[in-house]
């Protein structure tokens, strides 16, 4: 179970290791996005993504004995950077299992923090991770399907409510569901009138389809520019929370993900990774269920974009 208490405890636990990232009011985008636009800039977080919050919460909650054996994590990049950062802080070994398709900037970020990197096919990540755990005794730090991870990610929600008390809706990129289940739990407990809207790539609609079916479906592996939103199935612990608390899930096509990133950079002057600009893409596509007068907070989940990626826009 995940409760507001856990998220508040996580906040205390990790407060001295993370940044309270800024809320940025971007009036210049209001007309284009048909609402009052604010960003929660987790692209400016330490390690440049929110993932550090969950990784720290999890690892600071583990028994020392287990921790000292080392950790292993499957990741599309940012979770790996978060786990590596936390491992360096705690002086323990970390191994990160990445898909072949992970962007170079994320791989380099992990290596720079001293972690060991292993690459494999996207669908094999889980198996490789479990094998490493068995062989070396490493504890697995799951990227989303874990209550401590969710509690950590949920601290973003607490900050948004504090920094932007008049918020009407929060737009959250959704992959496995770790961030949105944490944020929704925090926000719905404290301000149930605030809408929580999840945004996923059209090509991997694991949440849209699972919610419609009423069970956790496995969707087909596909390429997407949103490299952090590739999980093929909702997390077991995340799905019921999303089902219960999230107001809507919308799907964004690849072209709108690019437009979202470009608009945010050229009009908004903010650099975000494609997976984080997806909410802006949804607004541009005109599919966000918000009113023109709503104060909408777009959760910009990460900013690990290489120079090559910017140039390829």
């Amino acid at each position: 179970m995940l409760k507001l208490d856990n998220i508040q405890a996580a906040k205390m636990k990790i407060a001295s290791y993370i940044y309270e990232t800024p809320i940025i009011r971007l009036q210049g985008l209001d007309e284009l996005l048909h609402c009052n636009v604010s960003l929660k800039a987790e692209n400016m977080q330490k390690t440049n993504s929110f993932k550090l919050r969950g990784a720290l919460t999890k690892m600071l909650s583990m028994p020392l004995e287990q921790l000292q054996q080392g950790v292993v994590a499957a990741s599309s990049g940012n979770h790996g950077i978060g786990v590596s950062f936390a491992a360096k802080l705690l002086n323990i070994p970390a191994t990160i299992v990445l898909p072949d398709t992970a962007p170079p900037i994320k791989i380099e970020g992990i290596r720079a923090l001293g972690a060991n990197v292993i690459q494999c096919k996207l669908a094999e990540r889980q198996g490789v991770t479990e094998k490493l755990s068995l062989e070396h005794g490493y504890a697995i730090i799951h990227p989303y399907d874990d209550y401590d991870i969710m509690a950590g990610q949920g601290t973003v929600g607490l900050e948004i409510l504090q920094q932007l008390p008049h918020v009407d809706a929060i737009v959250v990129p959704i992959g496995g569901g770790g961030l949105i289940s944490g944020v929704a739990t925090a926000v719905k407990a404290m301000a149930p009138h605030v809408k929580i809207i999840g945004v996923e790539p059209t090509v991997v609609p694991r949440y849209s389809e699972s919610l419609q079916a009423g069970e956790r479906l496995l969707v087909k592996e596909q390429k997407s520019l949103a490299d952090a939103l590739l999980p093929l199935q909702p997390g077991e612990r995340n799905f019921p929370i999303v089902e219960k608390l999230v107001d809507a899930i919308v799907r964004v096509d690849e072209a709108s993900i690019v437009s979202g990133m470009k608009t945010l950079l050229l009009n908004g002057k903010i650099l975000a990774e494609p997976s984080s600009a997806i909410g802006i893409g949804a607004a541009l596509q005109g599919i966000l269920p918000v009113a023109k007068s709503d104060h909408v907070c777009f959760l910009i989940s990460g900013g690990n974009v290489g120079f090559n990626q910017i140039q390829s826009l």
Copy 2:
């Protein structure tokens, strides 16, 4: 004369036409820049630069009869965009005189606002502007050497003090001196302990050299990436204010201007034009007279950067 009163009056006058731009605390840059880093994000201002503040203040203070004859302005780009925006608002004709070297994005921005564009050599801008004024009866809107313009730009200073009351130093890009004289006048009147530091390109050191000489020197025309900071001589009305109120002027080389822009984009996740990233360049160069514990506000004066310019980094 420029006094706090004028700046406060300007604030009232233009409040409904401009954005109160955000202050962004960028903890992730503290270590790199050796201070506590905040930005005043005028790159997120309407027209994407602070110049609108001065243009509006000036034009909203002119007699209607004169205004309706139309206006002309010499500009490196952003002042032209500000004047064009204000002219469109007031439904009067505007002509903007730009140097051959103005970046395409700024020229397009002016044209999109319906103003007439004339291009000439940098050194000829003044002459061409005066000729147009004589021929057509256009009022000249000077980019910096005017008390109403300075009063408008000074409103940025009022906002900084209100949004960041514990600020220790404000770092301001300096060209002709319109922005810094307005900001210094506002800030030194309300919080004289706050340091005002001007930053200019090493290749056009008009303020450093003029302050040393005690008079307004004319420096040699040079190319600089900082296309908004090209004036060759301090403004007549600006110079005595800068001489009296500004604590230090530092000079930044071209390589550090590029590093400043890159650091702000890739580490800070903020897109600024070279002329605005120059303060970050100064900090990287290690020449800002601030202490590690100081809360430093970098005035990000504009964000009109084309995609080509980003790619050329």
